[in-house]
């Protein structure tokens, strides 16, 4: 196309035109012999412009894999809010009424009854912010509901964390053995998982914990030996693919024993899956324990648990709604924050589906 209206440019594209002498880019100019040796040259500029290698920025700090994971986790807003809430709830529950080992700062016990003041209404108020005598109110026999709720929270947290630890140990062991040795262990694992398609987890847990008599450690034990199957399947899947990798072959070639290969070479590579799954197990355990206690197969009176409190006072919803609200909010707060922490951990270990940059 002949576009003569733009004057000197003619049909030649702009970038092909010779640069003005003294600009430092004359060597690119098609008009030879015009290079000015005195003109300032910038080697680094040429390097960065025309190099095919990626330029590394050495001023920026570089991070190890673990540091990257931690950075991503601490930048996850939901996980941070969850972590703070969970820590807050835990500290409140344990410091307020204390345990057998140490006394708390709250002066009332969850066991002793008292006069019912003002229909047992909660004295907690935000404007002005005061605790008052009975911040969460009193139940029908005048027991302090704050102390009762805190006791229930302690129990639920204890069950949840011991189940988280116990089931993770079982799940990792079975999953690793099944993935590494295949054969009979794998068949048992698969049938055990299938079992939970046929028997609901809650039903099996109820039947077993009734047989054990409903102490807190009994429930933890029952839930631990029931909820590991999901984690075991995940670990098995990862081990199956990891055992085919070169570094495992290399370890085998120099005569490393199988147990060392599993625990030193393979399992560290599955740590992300394990941590995320353990966190989510904790949330599942909280809900299961409270559901069991609600049905009457969990923690038995006179001890208290959040699910049992709700079960006892659900009929009082019309007249004394606070007896129903507090334990529910506690369960919701714990489960929600644990789930958010789990989500943050998942994004930190496996950032493919998240927005974070590095």
């Amino acid at each position: 196309m002949a576009d003569t209206s733009s004057g000197s440019a003619g049909d030649r594209p702009e970038q092909d035109r010779p640069d003005a002498p003294g600009s430092g880019r004359e060597e690119l100019s098609p008009v030879t012999g015009q290079a000015d040796p005195e003109a300032p040259h910038d080697e680094a500029d040429v390097e960065s412009k025309y190099s095919v290698e990626k330029q590394l920025d050495f001023t920026q700090k570089s991070y190890s894999q673990n540091q990257l994971v931690l950075r991503r986790f601490f930048r996850h807003k939901g996980a941070m809010i969850g972590l703070v809430t969970l820590l807050g709830v835990t500290i409140l529950a344990y410091s307020s009424i204390g345990t057998a080992a140490f006394p708390g700062w709250w002066d009332k016990s969850y066991r002793s009854s008292a006069m019912v003041v003002d229909g047992g209404r909660p004295t907690l108020s935000l404007f002005p912010p005061t605790w008052g005598e009975y911040p969460f109110g009193q139940e029908t026999t005048g027991k302090d509901y704050f102390a009762l709720t805190m006791r229930g929270t302690q129990q639920s947290l204890l069950v949840a964390f011991s189940v988280g630890i116990g089931s993770t140990i079982i799940g990792v062991t079975v999953g690793a053995l099944a993935g590494f040795y295949r054969g009979r262990v794998e068949a048992v694992l698969m049938r055990a998982t299938d079992l939970f398609i046929v028997i609901p987890l809650l039903v099996l847990a109820a039947t077993m914990s009734k047989g054990l008599g409903g102490g807190i450690w009994g429930i933890s034990f029952v839930l631990s030996i029931l909820v590991w199957t999901g984690l075991a399947r995940l670990v098995r899947g990862e081990v199956l693919s990891l055992r085919e990798r070169e570094f495992v072959t290399a370890a085998e070639a120099i005569g490393t024993p199988s147990s060392r290969i599993i625990f030193k070479h393979i399992l560290p590579n599955t740590i992300g899956t394990i941590i995320v799954s353990a966190t989510l197990t904790i949330a599942v355990a909280i809900l299961l324990e409270t559901a069991l206690s609600f049905l009457g197969f969990g923690i038995q009176p006179p001890d208290s648990s959040l699910g049992q409190l709700i079960s006892t006072y659900q009929t009082a919803f019309q007249t004394r709604p606070w007896l129903f609200w507090w334990p529910g909010i506690m369960i919701l707060a714990i489960a929600l924050s644990v789930n958010f922490i789990g989500d943050g951990l998942r994004d930190a270990f496996d950032p493919r589906q998240s927005r974070s940059e590095d």
Binding site: I197, V198, F294, F297, I310, I331, L336, F340, Q353
Partner: protein, 517 residues
């Protein structure tokens, strides 16, 4: 190989299903042993009698030992139970007697019907809504909609079932019943509703600012007008759809079906759908007297007729796109039929209200003495079913939506998606044809596990709502260390779970051709 003809393919699928049935029965048997042993070891079945002071104590104990075969060792008792239960295969179940000598078969019949209705309905609703919401959230990743869905999913995950059920009982039943006695929506509430719906629809629709604002404005105005109109004519107590709304809604159904299959440009298929709606309008008047007080048989027959008519229209006018036209026409015909049914159902709401001034029930799973016409019968169990179903649906909906979302995101990162986009396919085709089908494959695997956890949830929900369903059977049986009811619960729910699992497997096989090889 898929080119070997349909006969061979069917054979392979059948073989696959038969193998699954064999494995499932084996697992059911293993689980029954476990369940039996755990139940009989969970306590002392004679405990209450040992502590009683009544004069005929020895006699009572002897009667119970007789009823429960307590003088036999556990394996003999299990064998007796298994012998009776295995007759289920020839449809003559004998589930034994409970500790008072009552036949468990009778107890199970009613309980199973109400519980399975609840769990199945909740599963279907959770799958439909959960998958839809999950796909929308994945397509609009990092939008306001996505964040709201994510937060709600986490909330529902963490919600204790029993707590949510009690809350819903208060606000969904007691307060709704108070409201329906003298319904009316204040201006402020109407405005808030309009704003809320406008916001929801605009974030789902997405697009640029102009499109969002437009969607928001249109939705808000339409909703405001509709609610005001409903309020003015007293729709809340005398609802109906009327022919106009039926046609409008079935057009919407047609549009959704078209979007999912061939898009809105294919004239021939559109005309097939429109013709189906035309025939539907004629038959609306023709079947009017039939629909006044039908029966389930009649409804099913009419639905079958509608499907056949739709298929005929598709065959006659489909031309070169016959198969798609058939699917669209049948879908449209069934939607139209359902809307006509819904219209009649709504028209009977007022009649039902006159009999029951507080419609949503908070206690009990069914009033057997209920009398009324066909539609009132439906309202009777619908009002009992609605709250437990909502509780169960919400909780498993969260799981489905999260799972669908991540599965869909995983799929959209695949190379073939980029290829599909780079060869110029529209968003609609890429999302429905390439992404959706592949994203649905992993979801079928969680259906089985989710069904089991829903049954667990149903045990709790039934207790809150005072149903005498399978949950109550299980709980009472376990409390009294009586294996027969517990095992009956296990057998019914286990068989239902296996059936559900099987359906999921078949869906899996039809979505993923690799599994059939």
């Amino acid at each position: 190989m898929s080119c070997n003809g349909t006969g061979e393919k069917g054979g392979v699928v059948l073989q696959f299903i038969l193998r699954r049935i064999g494995v499932s029965i084996f697992i059911l048997w293993l689980a029954s042993v476990l369940m039996y042993v755990l139940t009989i070891n969970s306590g002392d079945p004679l405990q209450d009698l040992r502590q009683t002071n009544s004069s005929n104590r020895e006699q009572l104990i002897a009667a119970r030992v007789e009823n429960m075969n307590l003088d036999e060792p556990w394996y003999t008792r299990y064998a007796i139970w298994l012998g009776g239960a295995s007759k289920c295969l020839i449809l003559q179940c004998d589930l034994g007697t409970n500790r008072t000598g009552q036949s468990v078969n009778e107890l199970v019949a009613d309980a199973a019907a109400s519980s399975l209705r609840l769990v199945t309905l909740a599963t279907v609703l959770a799958i439909v809504f959960g998958v839809t919401v999950g796909i929308l959230a994945a397509i609009r990743q990092y939008s306001g909609f996505d964040y709201v869905v994510t937060f709600l999913a986490f909330l529902f995950f963490s919600l204790p079932v029993f707590w949510a059920a009690v809350l819903l009982k208060q606000y969904g039943a007691i307060d709704f019943n108070n409201w329906i006695a003298d319904p009316g929506v204040s201006l402020v509430t109407t405005l808030l509703l309009a704003l809320l719906f406008g916001m929801v629809f605009s974030v789902i629709a997405g697009g640029d600012t102009r499109r969002r604002v437009l969607t928001f404005a249109i939705t808000a105005v339409v909703l405001f007008a509709v609610v005001t109109y409903f309020d003015a004519v007293g729709w809340w107590r005398r609802p109906a759809l009327g022919l106009g709304l039926i046609v409008l809604l079935s057009l919407a159904a047609l549009a959704v079906l078209l979007m999912l299959t061939v898009g809105l440009r294919n004239r021939r298929v559109i005309y097939c759908g429109l013709a189906t709606i035309g025939v539907g309008i004629v038959s609306f008047f023709a079947t009017r007297s039939l629909m006044e007080d039908p029966s389930w048989t009649l409804i099913l027959v009419l639905a079958a007729v509608a499907a056949v008519v739709g298929a005929v229209i598709g065959v006659a006018f489909g031309g070169y796109e016959r198969s798609t036209a058939i699917v669209i026409s049948v879908g449209t015909a069934l939607s139209f039929g359902f809307l006509v049914f819904l219209d009649q159902l709504l028209r009977n709401w007022g009649l039902y209200l006159e009999g029951n001034s507080r419609p949503i029930s908070t206690i009990g799973s069914g009033s057997p003495l209920f009398s009324g016409n066909f539609y009132e019968g439906i309202w009777n169990w619908a009002t009992q079913l609605i709250l437990p179903t909502i509780v169960l649906t919400l909780i498993s909906l969260a799981q489905y939506s999260r799972y669908t979302r991540s599965s869909m995101l995983e799929t959209t990162q695949q190379d073939y998606m980029r290829t599909a986009r780079s060869k110029g396919l529209s968003d609609r085709v890429v999302n429905t044809k390439h992404a959706l089908r592949n994203a649905l494959i992993p979801i079928t695997t969680i259906v089985a596990f989710d069904f089991a956890s829903l049954i667990g949830g149903a045990v709790i929900t039934e207790r809150v709502f005072g149903w005498s369903g399978m949950g109550a059977l299980f709980q009472e049986g376990l409390n009294t260390v009586d294996p027969a009811p517990v095992m009956a619960f296990f057998l019914v729910t286990g068989a239902a779970a296996i059936l559900m699992n099987m359906l999921a497997d078949i869906a899996y096989a039809s979505l993923d051709p690799r599994i059939r090889r």
